[in-house]
Each structure stands twice: as C-alpha cells, then as structure tokens.
C-alpha cells in the first residue's frame, strides 16, 4: 500500500462514518424489535437494548393463537397470492397484443392504462365502497383481490408491454406458422423470455398488496377476513400494555417480506432504480 492509498483511505473515512451511522439508524430499531420478541414484557420495559436474559417463545405462541395471527396470515397470503396471479395474467394478456400486433389503436389504450399509475384511487373510496356493496364484495377476500389487481394493472401492463415490444418478431412467427394458438404463444414463448419483467411485476405487486391496510380498513369488518396490517392496527390499541405480543406480531408480519428481501434484494434494488418506485 503506497502513501497515496493510505491518504485516500483516510480522506474517505468521514464518509464511511456517515454511511455507517445511517446503517445503525436503520438497524438498531429493527434489532430492538427482534430481541424484544424473545423477552418477557417486564424485561422489555426494563432493559431495552440488551439480549434477553432467558429466551422465550411465549410471545410468538400468544400472537399466533390468542391473537389469531394464523388466520390473518392466511388471509394476507390468499389476498396477495390471488392479486399477484390475477394482475399478472390479465396484464400479460393485455400487454401482448398492445405491444406486438399492428393494430392502430394500441397507443391510446396503453396511454389510458398508463394514466392509472398516478391516479389517487383512495379519493374514490366512497364510490368504491358503494360499488363493492352493490357487488356483494364487502367482507370478502375476492373483493380485495379485484381492487388490488385493478390498482396494479396499469403498472404491470406498462412494464410488460415495454419488455415485450423489444423482442424480435421471429420469436413467435415460427410458432404461429406451426399453428400455435395466441394464448399458447404468450404463455409458452413470450412470458418465459421476459422473466425479469414478470419478476419485477410479481415482487412489486406482492409487496404493495401485502403491506396495504387502507382497503381492508374500509371493506373488511368481519374479523374472519382481516389481513395482517389491518389486524395490527386494531391490535396495538387492544393489547397496548402487552408489548411482548405486539412486537411478536410485528415480527411475524414482516417475516415473509424479510425472507423475500434476503432472497431478492438485488432484483428489488435494480427494479426500483429502473422503474422508480414501489408505492
């Protein structure tokens, strides 16, 4: 190492300290959350930063059974899974002809979809509520799946159409000459070639739906159909003094996202860098 290298390292030091500090600001609250899950409520009040003196799983057990988190998790999984699949299937079907056929009317239709990326749908919640009531979709997982898909379709169509447009024409010509049906070309040839785009759409839809609590808040009244985020909001008020259970519930509900993030951090980072956001 030359003197120049050393000097370079020293000059970089303050910057590293700044970055490390922010990493701490992010990590410490999450650390406190995780260790608190394994402490008794008394100990959470006592020693906030240390490791538990005796590790306990009671908080998880309580949250899972007493607070019925098993049910809320199932609802969240069902709604998220349903919304991701419905969004992907109908958006891929729409993006395919709009990006690859010579139609003459595809640009205005794409623009109409694209406008939806920015529409503040929450402001329509009164009329949406009336509509859901008319369609008998209140207190229903299916109702949530439809609303979430409708909200995510614009982004999905936009991304999928952009990826499909640049594929070479020959890709489907051969299959078409062999007499393959259009839906077969889409699902067997086109979609497998644009896996990264499908992944981005699936990941972002899953995160957005898993995390949302606004629509369950206005459409779900029956405890049987509550999703995790909605359950948490009622939960914090209800069990305010039982911190052990509250932190365990928070930890359980962030687990699926954490696992996904550990597996897919690079794709998520690149997707956000390229498309501009999750919300």
């Amino acid at each position: 190492m030359t003197n120049l290298d050393v000097a370079q390292r020293i000059r970089q030091l303050p910057g590293w300290i700044v970055l490390a500090l922010w990493a701490l600001v992010v990590a410490v609250p999450l650390y406190i959350l995780i260790v608190s899950c394994f402490k008794t409520t008394a100990e959470i009040y006592g020693d906030k930063f240390g490791l538990p003196t005796s590790w306990t799983l009671d908080n998880f057990a309580n949250a899972w059974t007493q607070a019925q988190f098993a049910r809320y998790m199932w609802n969240s999984f069902a709604v998220t899974g349903g919304a991701v699949i419905l969004t992907l299937v109908v958006s891929a079907m729409a993006a395919f002809p709009l990006s690859r056929y010579q139609l003459g009317w595809s640009s205005p239709v794409l623009a109409f979809f694209l406008a939806g990326v920015m529409l503040p749908i929450r402001l329509a919640s009164v009329e949406l509520f009336t509509l859901m009531k008319t369609l008998d979709l209140l207190d229903s997982r299916l109702g949530l799946i439809f609303v979430y898909s409708a909200i995510r379709i614009p982004f999905a169509v936009f991304i999928l159409a952009n990826f499909m447009r640049v594929l070479p024409k020959e890709l489907e010509e051969a299959a078409r000459l062999d007499g393959a049906k259009e839906w077969r070309i889409l699902f067997r040839i086109i979609l497998p070639t644009i896996k990264p785009a499908v992944a981005i759409v699936a990941i972002f839809t899953a995160i957005a739906v898993w995390n949302d609590f606004f629509f369950p808040l206005i459409f779900i009244f029956d405890d049987d159909y509550k999703t995790v985020p909605l359950a948490i909001t009622t939960f914090i008020g209800q069990f305010r003094t039982d911190w052990g259970m509250v932190v365990a519930a928070l930890a359980i509900s962030m687990m699926p996202v954490l696992v996904m993030y550990l597996l897919l951090a690079r794709q998520i980072r690149e997707g956000v860098g390229a498309t501009g956001g999750l919300k």
Partner: protein
C-alpha cells in the same frame, strides 16, 4: 388500420377481435374498480348527499362549504401539514439521500450491501413502521432511554403528544421508511454520468462537494424530477403513518391531520364528536385533491423536462 385500407388490404378482423379479447379482462377490471369510482366521485361532488344516498344537483355548494367554518380550519390545517410534509421529505429524505448516494457512488460497487440495508425499511408496511416507532417513542420507550443515557433529555419523552413536534416526528419516521428510494434512484442516476466528466473536474482541482453541486446535480435532473413527483404524490396521499401513530383524528388536537385523514373522517364517519358522515364534503375535498395532484404533477414534470441537460 388506415394504412391497411390505403393499400387496399382487407381489415384483419380476426386479429382485431383476438386482440380485443386479450385486452378486455384487464380493461374491465381497471375500468370497473378504478376509473368508474373515480369518475363518479368527481361527478358526485356536485350533488347533495344524505348519508350514502345521492340527492339533488347543487353545483359548487359542497366546495363552498369547504371554505367556511367549521371545515375551513381543518382544511387549511391539513393542507399546511401536507405542505410541511412535502418540504420536510424533500430535505430530510431526498437531500440526505443524495448525500448518501454520492458517498456510496464515490466508494464504487462494493457498497451493494449498504444499499440493501438502507432500502430495507421501504419494503415494510407503513403499519409495521408506524407501530414500531410508536413503541420506540412512547414514554419509557427505547428512544427515551437512549436520550437519557446520552444526557440529552431529562424526564419523560412526550414528543408524539406535543403539537409542535408530533408532525415533524412523523415526517422523520416517513423519511426513515423511504430513505432507500432516493439512495437507489440517485446512485442509478450518478452511474449514468460519463466517468470522464468527473475525471476532468477532478483534474481541474474540484473537490467532491463542488463536483456534486456543479457537475453531478445538473445531470441528475431526471432523477430529481421523478423523486420530486413521487414525493409530492406520496406526501399529499399521506394517511397510513398518521392513522397508525396518531389515530385518524391526527392527534394531538389535529396537529398531524392531513388532507387524506380529513377526507377519510368525512367519508367514513369519524369527523366530530358524534361521528358525522358528510359525503358531499368528502367528495368535494377528494375532487380538489385530485385536481391539485394532477395539475401539480403535470406542472412538475413539465418544469423538469425543460431543465434536463441533454448530451
């Protein structure tokens, strides 16, 4: 279609029908659950409402009612909080995010791990983030212990109940939540600038701060544009953090009330002591907010479009 006709070729009806059938499911879901409710909300703001039932046409009456008491205090308060929120996020989140991104960029590609750490809170639900910080910030919570041991505070920590500070605490929590976004967008933007530009500036003896300000920033306009627009849309739609941390009334004493929490109270019956639903007022507020969002978003995009440096 028209070029086909000019060439005398027949219109390929089966192709158009197949295309329409493929587009239809997405179009129907999107129109039914997004376009229709939005359009009828805008239209409905011109009518009188009894509960959830639409009565006669009243023109701009609902809008007029928004601008007189008792609504006016709430409306102007909520609007002010949204404006503070926007500028707070621009400085705290996007300003700091730019500095972090630049520091990461200068340190090369070995910083992916830190980027992942910075971005992680952004994949968490605002409900989890809000609940977590509410626990950390309660009297006798972790933040209070930390401030005590650093000697920065004596007695109880009550900022969430303090009407001068509560809003800024929420803004800081929001910035904590979304800090990874400007970091990612700015690092992506910085990597698109040609390395020679930085080298030339460095040979001219410019320091890192100067390079960021005079060389990098003008070329980062596309990143700044999308971040400003996203920040505007997100801050003016702010609801989740307020609801989870301070309740739908924007406690204490409406100090953290936002336009969407006010809208929610009007629409779903949590406004005032008896929980009055005032759909007409809610729809008028929604329509104004919709117009504000649309006009300002388009304005922002235009503004930045003209300032984009083309190479």
């Amino acid at each position: 279609m028209s070029t086909n006709r000019l060439r005398g070729a027949p219109i390929d009806w089966p192709k158009h029908r197949a295309a329409a059938l493929f587009v239809l499911p997405a179009l129907v879901i999107y129109c039914l659950f997004v376009i229709y409710p939005l359009a009828s909300s805008l239209w409905g703001s011109l009518f009188e409402w009894r509960g959830f039932r639409m009565r006669g046409f009243v023109g701009l009456d609902n809008f007029a009612r928004l601008f007189v008491e008792p609504s006016w205090t709430k409306l102007s308060g909520a609007f002010t909080h949204n404006v503070f929120w926007f500028f707070g996020i621009m400085v705290l989140q996007n300003g700091l995010g730019l500095i972090f991104a630049y520091l990461l960029f200068l340190r090369g590609r070995g910083t992916a791990f830190l980027q992942s750490v910075f971005f992680f809170p952004a994949v968490l639900s605002p409900v989890i983030v809000g609940a977590l910080w509410r626990l950390l910030l309660t009297p006798d919570g972790a933040v209070e212990s930390l401030l005590h041991s650093l000697g920065l505070l004596e007695g109880r920590l009550t900022i969430l109940g303090d009407s001068t500070w509560a809003l800024w605490v929420l803004i800081a929590v929001d910035a904590w939540n979304w800090m990874g976004l400007p970091v990612l967008i700015f690092t992506a933007g910085l990597r698109q600038i040609q390395p020679e530009v930085f080298e030339a500036a460095r040979l001219d003896g410019a320091g890192n701060g100067r390079i960021l300000w005079s060389i990098a920033l003008p070329q980062l306009v596309p990143s700044i544009s999308s971040l400003t627009t996203l920040t505007f849309i997100n801050t003016f739609n702010q609801f989740d953090l307020v609801y989870v941390m301070q309740g739908v009334q924007g406690n204490p004493n409406f100090a953290t009330d936002t336009l969407v929490t006010y809208f929610f109270r009007l629409a779903f019956g949590a406004e005032g002591a008896v929980g009055i639903t005032d759909i007409g007022l809610a729809l008028a507020l929604g329509t104004l907010l919709f117009l504000l969002l649309t006009v300002v978003t388009i304005g922002l995009l235009r503004f930045f479009e003209r300032r984009t440096v083309r190479l």
